[in-house]
Amino acid sequence: MMRIKSVALAGAVLLGLAACAEPRLSDNLFVVLSNEDGSVGEITVSDGKTTTVLNTALAAAQVDREGALKPAMVTDNDVKTIFQPALDAQPILPRRFVLYFESGSNQLTPDSQQAFETVFTDVARRAAPTVEVIGHTDTVGAQDFNARLSQERADALRDLLVGRGIKAEAIITAGRGELDLLVKTADETAEAKNRRVEITVR
């Protein structure tokens, strides 16, 4: 009984000490993380008087209690303790796809029919997807014909997604005709890489 009491007392004292100790990191904190591929970007932090450049993994700065901007030492553990809820709330990053079409048609090439499955899987794994589909053509045929064909290609992609259960309201389509060539060519040039839709899944 006695022993339990003293342990409880020691615990309370420790807790009290921890609460009194100055936390190592302030509530005004800036941290750079490495990217998934291991590269690191760069941010500059300025408080009006001082500017700090942060460009290595876990490089950090903080504004201390005296209001001074200073470098800070931050560990993976600090990141978890302070930022885990914000990190857990990060949406799935947007992803881009390009699918290709048969000449003069809104039919996907056989390869792109296969690749469509990857697009569908990516849309389907998101809780609230928004999909942007922009259609394009090569320079064979008149401009207004190609404007229409590019829209038909975008619409064809939308219909494929809707056919698999994706809500039509989540899909935005547009056609750019032959105005935005992926491979620059002269007019009236067949180019498979230009007969495409560009898809952004968010």
Binding site: V32, A86, A89, P94
Partner: protein, 153 residues
């Protein structure tokens, strides 16, 4: 004269139809994750944040003690907030054709995780995050910010 008028009307109809999929032309991004208590404050209106809702320039986003939310913007940047956070989408402009524009996000208090999109591609000053204590210029790509409210700085 009439021809012009009819053409103009037809153009407007096409515009209206063209945006039917994205009924909200003021959308600069969408709510993609929500946890616990989270709200969008737009002018005098306070709406619970729900999956898929669009966000606008000047919107204020608030999370409660158990709250979190995540937004994906039209430039493909992604931000997310932890509990007890308050964020104002102070300004946002983005042209997908040339990656040009600017974005200023205020973190009034709380925690924010950011992964940049296409905006910083043209200008390193295109994307900025401001807290009561400091302002950040962003070249990329993943970073974290914690801010104390101005009065408790």
């Amino acid at each position: 004269m009439w021809v012009k008028l009819i053409a103009a009307c037809a153009f407007l109809v096409v515009l209206a139809l063209g945006t039917s999929a994205s009924a909200d032309s003021d959308a600069i991004g969408w709510i993609k994750t929500v946890g616990g208590e989270a709200h969008i404050v737009r002018g005098a209106t306070r709406t619970p944040a729900a999956l898929g809702l669009p966000v606008h320039q000047k919107d204020r986003l608030e999370t409660g003690a158990d709250g979190s939310l995540g937004i994906t913007f039209t430039d493909n940047s992604v931000i997310s907030a932890g509990p007890n956070s308050s964020i104002v989408l102070e300004s946002y402009e983005y042209d997908a054709a040339n990656f040009k524009g600017g974005m200023l996000t205020d973190l009034l208090q709380g925690t924010l995780a950011v992964t940049t999109g296409d905006l910083p591609r043209t200008s390193p000053d295109a994307m900025r995050v401001r807290t009561p204590a400091a302002i950040l210029g962003v070249r990329g790509t993943r970073f974290l910010v914690k801010a104390a409210a101005a009065e408790s700085k």
